[in-house]
Symmetry: C2
Subunit: 282 residues, 2 copies
């Protein structure tokens, strides 16, 4: 497995692989790999001839009050896991390599970034699309694999790729969960045992919403109120948002009569957790 | 020569060419080809194994009061000229192909787009960088050729490429001029014979500035005033800006003691003309 820190070298390696007729898969990560990432790597390994994983905790997608400095890191453990998962190259640049002096460009998706996490994390998705565009031009992947847990991120990246004609297929992989249903996230490491228990309320909320829709409830407000009440009945929880929206345009919907997504963000202690589910398919 | 209207087909052709080991040059144009473009094609032809020219009058780089609708077009003439210049493929998409419903992404270079034409044409460079990013991901060029007449555009594109790690070399080609010195531009076609004569004042202004710097003048304000006076002594002229700035950062300079660029934009009748020169090399 190659470990590459320089953009120019990564481009050279990818160009060589492409020239030899290989399909390149990319799994972009911020490191601190967990089962969710391993599943992304499994899909990438299966669909590509060469599998690249990037590890980069991207400063520009964190707000000034957010956890960039304390975001969990484990380079050595990550490299071992990557090796076991059959990764061919890990691209692991420094911040200086990605954002040298004079850096001043942004890739922005304008509309669908206004909703959900875009509302509570201004600038976050500009940071995501900019770094993903950079990772794509560096690793030149035919395919890139993202988790559906970051549902909005997945939709935003698909939009960017389509709008900017990037020749990379985007694959969304279903959320990997703990046995009790908690969506796996690096930020779960912030949770105390009591908070861990309260964190289950996100998944329970999604289940409640699905059940209400299945029973015929058409009013998003009633569903959101019920989910809110359920979550707030757990200690240490503070709701950032609960949204029922169009799964592609991400705008709130007034009445549930077609495909819709419930997405939510909840603070549990100092962890900000997100989860989502399609509560109606069509 | 292939004429290609679809993004997906252009990508396929470029991918094939790259796979066969060819160096691809791209010359992006808005059509209505003149000697300036022919020179870009000559350089592209010389440096690449496969030469792609794009023709696309890009609506998003025109302001609402600008000349998008009336911008001169001559598809048939352009294709003949391209053939003579040894172009291998012309990429000529429709507006709908480039900006389908739901399009909402922007590539932006933040700082150096605030000066010069960025000041008088808000949003212009966002339109330029966005379309060039799209053209690059569509044609996958190793090299792209731009004219130095659009000096700021060249600097902005180089910045975008560096910032977003696009694996495309950017080549700037010196401005091609008429025998009397007028920089060749598609917009020269808007000029009446009398205006054509006044349009020479741009080049004369650059000459005057160079002479003053050569004689030791260090004050940009004095030079700009002299250039302004010279230009306004010609009928039909109206000055948009005259700037003496750092050739890379494009910010105004206070005193001439290093490399500097004089860039100007002047309305002559209904044509808005630009020109520039390095008035001091180092």
């Amino acid at each position: 497995m190659e470990v590459i820190e320089k953009i120019a070298l990564m481009q050279e390696v990818s160009e060589k692989w492409r020239g030899d007729g290989n399909i390149i898969s990319l799994v972009p990560t911020m490191g601190f790999l967990h089962q969710g990432h391993i599943e992304l790597l499994r899909v990438g390994r299966q669909k590509g001839d060469r599998l690249i994983m990037s590890i980069f905790v991207n400063p520009i997608q964190f707000g000034p009050q957010e956890d960039y400095e304390t975001y969990p890191r484990d380079a050595e453990g990550d490299l071992n896991k990557a090796r076991s998962a059959g990764v061919d190259a890990v691209f692991m640049p420094t911040v200086k390599e990605m954002y040298p002096d004079g850096f001043q460009s942004t890739v922005r998706v304008e509309e669908i970034t206004k909703y959900l996490c875009g509302k509570s994390r201004p600038g976050h998705f500009d940071g995501v699309t900019t770094v993903v565009a950079k990772l794509f031009s560096t690793t030149k992947p035919h395919l890139a694999i993202f988790g559906q847990k970051d549902y909005q991120q997945l939709v935003v990246i698909k939009r960017m790729v389509r709008d900017l004609n990037m020749d990379t297929g985007i694959i969304g992989v279903p959320t990997v969960r703990e046995a009790d249903g908690l969506a796996i996230s690096s930020r779960n490491s912030y949770l105390s045992p009591e908070e861990r228990s309260s964190a289950l309320s996100l998944k329970k909320g999604l289940g409640l919403a699905k059940a209400m829709v299945a029973e015929g409830e058409k009013d998003p407000v009633k569903i959101k109120n019920a989910v809110r009440e359920l979550i707030l009945s757990h200690p240490f929880t503070e709701i950032d948002y609960i949204t029922i929206c169009d799964p592609e345009k991400l705008a709130d919907i007034e009445i549930i009569d077609g495909p819709c997504l419930l997405a939510l963000a909840v603070r549990v202690g100092k962890a900000r957790l997100i989860d989502n589910a399609i509560v109606r398919e069509n």
